[in-house]
């Protein structure tokens, strides 16, 4: 036996060496793995009306600053749909599904506003990459924001800011904004089937939970990639950079940033309103977990009293949801949205004096709970105003400012309003969010900064019949769209109701002192 082994050993070793050499050779000679993603030249009829960058490189997603990590477009069939992720991550899906992120690219108000902008230019659809980069990144990255859509559609592109659009991020530029995010949607994903994910969960976690990505998406920088919006010549008529949305900078310069309270802490807390009140009470511990609801301020998109009109406004029902599930999740998120809005603001009487024929008083509008300005975002549509009613000892109303006409959907034009205005090249106000012809942004009144206040002085004329004590009723209202915008873009009679953020009543004695 031993002798036989000894005799055959050289042959055996030779065989092993040859086998290893063959395996190594095959490995070395194997054809290189194809680069993930789609090359621009393989997307027929893709329009590039804005030309290359300063280095001569093509800019397929411009004027959005969105990019993929390897510079290639995405194969839409390879983008995982959120409905697929729900197979295992049902809880996260149920949190995300009613959110504004989920309907960012499909809600009817947004869609119509984009169409109105697209109609302003012959290359309007390509210019709308600016909008879609943040609202429908899957569509832009797949090359479907194009006059001629030669790329096949997929469920994932209708899902707005879906799971993979965050969980593949590798870089963000929150000061540049306009979608300045780099996503590893081509290289940072797995293509494992569900059984394979179960068999090798670590591969799946490595793909979607890379340390760099996890750190980035937990930061405010990541949110700033889209929640910073500047208009320039690449998408508007602005000749100098116009700051349209400064939410990130508002936060960065605030007490919240100094205390490491991030966007995610409030907007992804399981109960955002409770968390905001916790912060207001001085307890700045992080939430016990982060939910995927992204609760924000758009109460209209959760107003179930609108019935099927709400389904229309939200652009239908998301893939993976039934009507009943949809309604249940929206109702839940609507409750959280209202509670968060009510946790944001306060009103205080800062001073007053009564003379023979004048009542002068100062109302402070306070930002108590928002880590950014109040209101924030693109506030040409979202706006806030103060309603003041003063009555005398007889209960007669002697002054009323800031009323809301519920029949016409109009706010008192003389009210104190926090809003920005888009203006065209001739300086005229553009009421319906036409970004592509906007040349300048002006403010009626800038938003109230975090933990700050804006004091408004009222000077009310008194007649000889008016006697104190006087009562001041103050209401701070918020509305997500102007009536002109709704009518012009949707061509409907829908009246967008305002939301009362906070109200307060102050009594002023007949003498010169005021008492809140």
């Amino acid at each position: 036996m031993k002798r036989q082994l000894k005799a055959n050993l050289p042959l055996l070793i030779s065989g092993c060496i040859i086998g290893i050499l063959i395996v190594v050779s095959l490995y070395l000679l194997r054809p290189p793995a194809p680069e993930p993603g789609i090359d621009l030249v393989n997307i027929p009829f893709y329009q590039l009306p804005f030309g290359p960058d300063e280095n001569g490189a093509e800019r397929p997603f411009w004027p959005s600053r969105l990019q993929t990590d390897n510079g290639r477009l995405v194969d839409p069939s390879k983008i995982q749909s959120a409905a697929t992720c729900a197979t295992c991550h049902q809880k996260e899906f149920d949190e995300w599904a009613p959110s504004l992120h989920a309907i960012a690219g499909r809600d009817t108000v947004y869609e119509r506003a984009v169409e109105a902008n697209e109609n302003l230019h012959r290359d309007g659809i390509e210019r709308a990459r600016f909008c879609e980069g943040c609202h429908a990144p899957g569509e832009v990255l797949a090359g479907r924001t194009n006059r001629f859509k030669s790329v096949m559609p997929s469920d994932a592109e209708t899902e707005g800011i879906s799971c993979v659009m965050c969980h593949t991020a590798t870089h963000a530029d929150p000061l540049e904004g306009n979608g300045a995010l780099t996503l590893a949607v081509n290289t940072g994903v797995d293509q494992l089937s569900n059984p394979m994910i179960l068999a090798a969960p670590r591969d799946h976690a490595r793909a979607f939970g890379a340390a760099k990505t996890n750190a980035l998406i937990a930061s405010a920088d990541f949110c700033g990639g889209c929640h910073t919006e500047n208009y320039d010549q690449s998408m508007s008529k602005a000749t100098t950079r116009q700051h349209v949305q400064s939410t990130f900078v508002e936060w960065r310069d605030s007490w919240y940033a100094q205390n490491d309270i991030t966007c995610q802490d409030c907007h992804m807390a399981p109960d955002p309103a409770s968390y905001v009140r916790q912060i207001r009470d001085g307890d700045i511990r992080k939430p016990e977990r982060y939910a995927h609801n992204f609760v924000g301020a758009n109460y209209l998109m959760f107003d179930t009293s609108l019935g099927s009109n709400l389904t229309w406004l939200r652009g239908g029902i998301l893939p993976g949801l039934t009507k009943e599930q949809n309604t249940r999740l929206i109702e839940k998120q609507g409750t959280a949205t209202s509670a968060l809005l009510r946790a944001a603001a306060g009103l205080a009487l800062k001073g007053s004096h009564v003379t023979d024929n004048r009542l002068v008083f100062d109302i402070a509008v306070q930002n108590l709970g928002a880590g950014h300005n109040l209101p924030t975002g693109v506030i040409d549509q979202k706006y806030m105003w103060l309603e003041i009613v003063v009555s005398d000892a007889d209960g007669s109303v002697i002054y009323h400012s800031g009323s809301f006409d519920t029949e016409r959907g109009q706010t008192d034009p003389d009210a104190v309003i926090w809003r920005e205005d888009f203006r065209d090249s001739a300086g005229n106000r553009i009421p319906d969010h036409l970004t592509f012809i906007t040349a300048e942004i002006t403010h009626l009144r800038k938003g109230v900064p975090p933990k700050g206040e804006d004091i408004v002085t009222y000077d009310v004329a008194l007649s000889g019949d008016n006697t104190g004590p006087y009562q001041i009723t103050a209401r701070l209202w918020y509305r997500v769209a102007t009536q002109e915008f709704i009518f012009n873009t949707l061509k409907t009679d829908l009246i967008v109701p305002p939301f009362e953020l906070v109200s307060a009543t102050f009594s002023l004695p007949a003498d010169k002192k005021a008492r809140p």
Binding site: H121, R122, F148, N309, W312, E407, G409, K491, D493
Partner: protein, 351 residues
């Protein structure tokens, strides 16, 4: 093994077979291209017809204003309900005319000989802009000439008829008599309205005149189908939305468009089968087959849904949403495949 005459005969026979096939393809394509042109002209004629109805409606409105010496308040006082009805009618006719144009918009914009009409009718800027200017002046009934005022559909008539442009609102009025004056409830400038409506008819006819001498080629055929087919998705999308919208909210959008979808889709299918399929199938029969299946599937979905609607069936939100999304998805897939075929055949898509 083979004798020379046999080889020659075989070679000759194969040559004849190839050229015969090519002739057959060309012949089918030529017939198909004629269909493309006829389809476009048909829709252009419908546009002229709709624009004429719109012009008549605006003319009737202007007559009432004129009979009160241009005093809008007096006209409203005397003929309020009539004027309100006329404005509602004008808006409906405007939507119909606009939809007719949108059906052929891609072709009009894509053909160099007719591209200027797209700017005048639908997409051009006023002369104050630097690019894509609608090159025409608008003469109004009172003799005023507006120099390069912008496109007629979205630039002038839409904001005018819906009261979106404050400077053209002559009187705020309670059109629907509900005791309130919501946005859009107003009397518009009749002089501008009539001039613009007349111009719509005029330029729609001019378009038809130039379109009549157009000789479509293969590029035009592909362009036609890839620009028209997505409008089917849009129409079906409108139908889907019309199933959601209730109450006053959908006053101007809730219109069933399934009849339009069926007509346009039938036209697109015919154009593809006649003019494009011979080209695509020559090199890629599998792709051709998938495109044809797509058309069959979409038309079948439309016909079935339309038949159900006509029989009085009401659709639930979930089903309407699913049907609308399915139609959009099929239309998108068809277009993507035709564009891929166009690229394979080095076709130039214009527009």
């Amino acid at each position: 093994m083979f004798k020379k005459p046999v080889l020659l005969t075989a070679a000759l026979a194969s040559c004849l077979a190839i050229s015969g096939n090519a002739f057959a393809t060309d012949d089918a394509e030529i017939r198909g291209l004629e269909n493309v042109k006829q389809f476009t002209l048909d829709h252009n004629e419908r546009l002229i017809s709709q624009a004429g109805l719109l012009e008549n409606a605006v003319s009737a409105y202007a007559d009432i204003i004129a009979s009160h010496d241009g005093n809008y308040a007096a006209a409203w006082q005397a003929k309020g309900p009539v004027l309100a009805g006329q404005i509602q009618n004008i808006r409906t006719l405007w939507l119909e005319a606009s939809n007719q144009y949108e059906t052929i918009e891609g072709i009009v914009a894509g053909i160099p000989e007719t591209a200027k009409y797209d700017l005048i009718l639908d997409a051009g800027n006023p002369g104050t802009e630097n690019e894509d200017i609608a090159q025409y002046d608008l003469t109004l009934p009172d003799g005023t000439v507006l120099s390069r005022p912008g496109n007629l559909f979205h630039g002038i008539t839409e904001p005018l008829f819906w009261g979106m442009e404050e400077s053209h609102i002559k009187l705020v009025a309670d059109l629907n008599d509900d005791g309130k004056q919501a946005p859009g409830e107003m009397l518009f400038d009749a002089n501008l309205g009539l001039g613009a409506a007349q111009a719509l008819t005029h330029w729609a006819k001019k378009l038809h005149s130039d379109m009549s001498v157009w000789k479509p080629n293969r590029d035009d055929a592909f362009t036609s189908v890839v620009t028209m087919t997505p409008t089917v998705g849009d129409y079906f999308g409108e139908w889907k939305e019309s199933q959601f919208i209730t109450g006053e909210v959908g006053a101007f959008v809730a219109q069933s468009r399934l009849a339009d979808v069926q007509g346009i889709m039938g036209g697109c299918k015919k154009m593809y089968f006649n003019a494009i399929s011979p080209v695509v199938s020559a090199d890629n029969p599998d792709l051709d087959s998938r495109i044809k299946s797509g058309f069959e599937e979409l038309l079948s979905l439309v016909e079935d849904t339309y038949a159900r609607e006509k029989s009085g069936e009401k659709f639930g939100i979930e089903e309407a949403d699913a049907l609308g999304n399915e139609a959009q998805d099929i239309a998108d897939r068809i277009v993507a495949m035709i564009l891929q075929a166009a690229a394979q055949n080095k076709v130039n898509i214009r527009g």
